[in-house]
Structure formats: structure tokens, C-alpha cells
Amino acid sequence: MMGLVLAPAMVASLATCLATVPLFAVNPFTEPVGVVHYLFVGAVLFTAGIACMTLKRNALGILMGIELVLNGANINFVAFASPYLRAEGAPTLGLDGQVVALFVILLAAAEAAVALAITLNFYNNHATVDVDRADDLKG
């Protein structure tokens, strides 16, 4: 049973290692970085955020996971917006990408405020911030 679970994980890890290889097709110390480098960081942050959301029982931890996820997405937007990271004359998102990232930041702030308020209410009513105990509406 454990093997069944772990097998895909191993496959996935292998695939990840393989996937990161092209990063080193460019010497990062001497050559300008490209979009894909940013995408790598974005993917890591995104995945860390998802992992945070699935792993943390603390409601605040889940919030932090959300922040990470949004931030990962933002990195991608900025990367696609920047002409620095693209080949000469390659189309970029330009200002649009930055504006979208900006709005994401703003809305993330709003989301954090509401989520915190909800968390506070939850804490007031249940004396805990453990989301596993927030199952009053379960089926």
C-alpha cells in the first residue's frame, strides 16, 4: 500500500529533477536569467503554498499558504511582464502583467483582512484555531 503511494511520488520527484535540468543550460552566474528561472521560483512558492494549506492545522498557517500561492502567481505575472527576461523583441505582458500583479496584491490584502476576521470569530466561538475542528457543517 505504501509503495503504491510512494511510487508516483518517486516518479514525480524524478520528473521534477529532470525538469529543472534546463535551468543549468544557462550558466546562472554569467548569463542573464530568463523567464523560466522566475517560473521555477513561482512554482516552488506555489507548491509550498499548496503544501502549507494541506498540511497546517492552524488557520493562520492556511492563510500563509494562500499568501504563498498568490505570491507564486505574482512572480509569474511579473516574469512575463518583464522584457529583461525575454529574448530580444519577444512579446511580453508589459504593464498589464504588473497591473494584474498589483491587483492581486491588493486583493490579497483584502482577503487577508476578511480571513483574519473570520478566524477571529472562529476563535471566539471555538476557542481554537485548529481548522480540523471547524467541521460543524460536515455532511
Binding site: A19, V21, I50, A51, L68, P83, Y84, L102, A113
Partner: protein
């Protein structure tokens, strides 16, 4: 979103590209020892620094159990991301990230401290099976994302390093509805719009959220004791409190009487 035009979705799904990465790997490994000191690109080095910080602290957030440390790592991760933004030429965005995201997380941290001041709440540990499952899911998600990211050739090459023009002012102008930035190559003429309306919507949205959050989080006067109050009342009651409970009763009775006297015809 003209920048996405080069991303053919079918290519994006093409796993077969994995087979093309092995030869470059070999050349890279061969080139590593011959790293020319003279040719160090500080931009790239700083990128590596910030990227490493961002990724490392992001993983740190996942790994840490103490909520305050989590928040600290998150702040570092987000701060490093701001550095990445600066490097990508999005200065305004970087400053914004520092101010809002990091500032917002500061509030998170404060709340974390306040809510989990009780010892049992500081670290709620997940079970080991959760950890395994998360590891599997995370690994597969990451591999999927990376596969997708590396499957587009146009994204893979090094950038030309054309430093973008300062974008803060054009960004500000775009937010009030005027586009003054140079359109990216291949943009259809006349198709670019300002962000006046979204800006206003977001402003109103923020206001609503502010009010809503304040409403949600306000101290409510409640009839039934909260669980947390119940916990407090479970503690031994000091004798003084009995006197305190008698006194208001007397006051309220007197008040009612005086109201009757005052209101009678």
C-alpha cells in the same frame, strides 16, 4: 495578454520535451568548473540569492510548526520576492510588495501571537501521514508545474537583459486610465486600455472589505458565554465576585423603580 500568444497550449502539455533536456545537462556540467570569474553577472547572482531565499523560506514555512516562525519565514520569503520584483524591473510592484504584503503579514504575525499565546495553540502538529500525503501531492504538483514551465521553448532561453524603462509612472498613469507605456511588440493598435475602472472597483472593494472585516471582528455583546469565557469561568471564583453580582441587581431594581416613578401619570 498578448505575451501569452507564444504559449501554445498543446506545447505546454508536451511531456516529450523532457527527452530533450539531457544533452544540455551534460554541457552545463562540463561548463561549471570553468566559471569565468570575470564574467559574473551580478543581476543573475542577486537573482540566485533572492530566489534561493524565497524558495528556502517558503519551504521553511511548510516545515515549521511554530506559527510565529512560520510567519517570520513567510515575511522573509515575501521580502525576497520583492527583491525578485526589483530585479525584474517592477520597482513599484516591489515596493508595493514590501509595504502591503509584508505589512499585511506583519498583522498576521500579530494575530498569530495574540491568538496562540496559549501554549497548546502555538504549534499544532500535523500527523505524519499528513506529511507524507502532502509531500506526494506537493511533489506531483511541482513536477507538473515545472514540466509545464519548461515545455515552452520561448521561455527557456536567457533574457537579453534589456532593462525596462522605469514603470512606476506609467503604472500610475495606467491606473488612472491613461496608457503612456510603449506597447509591447505585436500589440494591436488601439487595443490597450487603462485600468481606471478596475482601480476604482478595487478601491471600493477594499473599503467594503475594511468595513466588513471590522464588522466581523468587532466585539459583540452576546447573551450566551463564549466557549473561551466558559473556560475562564471554570476557574475558581473568588469571593469578591459574589458581592459584585449582587450589587448590579440592586442597582437595576432601583433604576426600574425610579423609571416607574418618573414615567407614571
Amino acid at each position: 495578454m498578448t505575451g501569452m500568444l507564444d504559449m501554445d497550449f498543446i506545447d505546454f502539455m508536451d511531456f516529450s520535451t523532457l527527452t530533450h533536456v539531457v544533452p544540455p545537462l551534460a554541457t552545463t556540467l562540463a561548463a561549471l568548473p570553468a566559471l569565468p570569474i570575470a564574467g559574473i553577472n551580478w543581476h543573475s547572482v542577486l537573482f540566485l540569492l533572492f530566489a534561493g531565499l524565497a524558495c528556502g523560506f517558503a519551504i521553511g514555512v511548510v516545515a515549521a510548526d511554530n506559527v510565529v516562525r512560520m510567519a517570520l519565514y513567510l515575511v522573509f520569503s515575501l521580502g525576497a520576492t520583492a527583491g525578485l520584483f526589483f530585479l525584474a524591473g517592477a520597482e513599484f510592484l516591489g515596493a508595493m510588495q514590501l509595504m502591503i504584503y509584508v505589512g499585511g503579514t506583519l498583522v498576521l504575525l500579530v494575530f498569530g501571537v495574540m491568538l496562540t499565546a496559549q501554549a497548546p495553540l502555538v504549534s499544532i502538529k500535523p500527523s505524519s501521514s499528513d506529511r507524507t500525503l502532502t509531500a506526494v501531492a506537493g511533489a506531483s504538483l511541482l513536477s507538473l508545474l515545472l514540466t509545464a514551465a519548461f515545455s515552452v521553448d520561448a521561455w527557456r532561453g536567457p533574457g537579453v537583459g534589456v532593462v525596462p524603462a522605469p514603470s512606476a509612472t506609467p503604472l500610475g498613469m495606467a491606473l488612472v486610465g491613461v496608457r503612456v507605456d510603449e506597447p509591447p511588440a505585436g500589440t494591436p493598435v488601439g487595443g490597450r486600455v487603462g485600468y481606471m475602472l478596475p482601480f476604482e472597483i478595487v478601491s471600493v472593494h477594499l473599503l467594503v472589505v475594511l468595513v466588513g472585516a471590522a464588522y466581523l471582528a468587532r466585539a459583540k455583546r452576546r447573551r450566551t458565554p463564549r466557549p473561551i469565557d466558559a473556560l475562564a469561568s471554570a476557574m475558581p471564583v473568588e469571593p469578591v465576585s459574589t458581592a459584585a453580582t449582587v450589587a448590579p441587581t440592586g442597582r437595576s431594581a432601583g433604576g426600574a423603580r425610579s423609571a416607574l416613578v418618573g414615567g407614571g401619570r
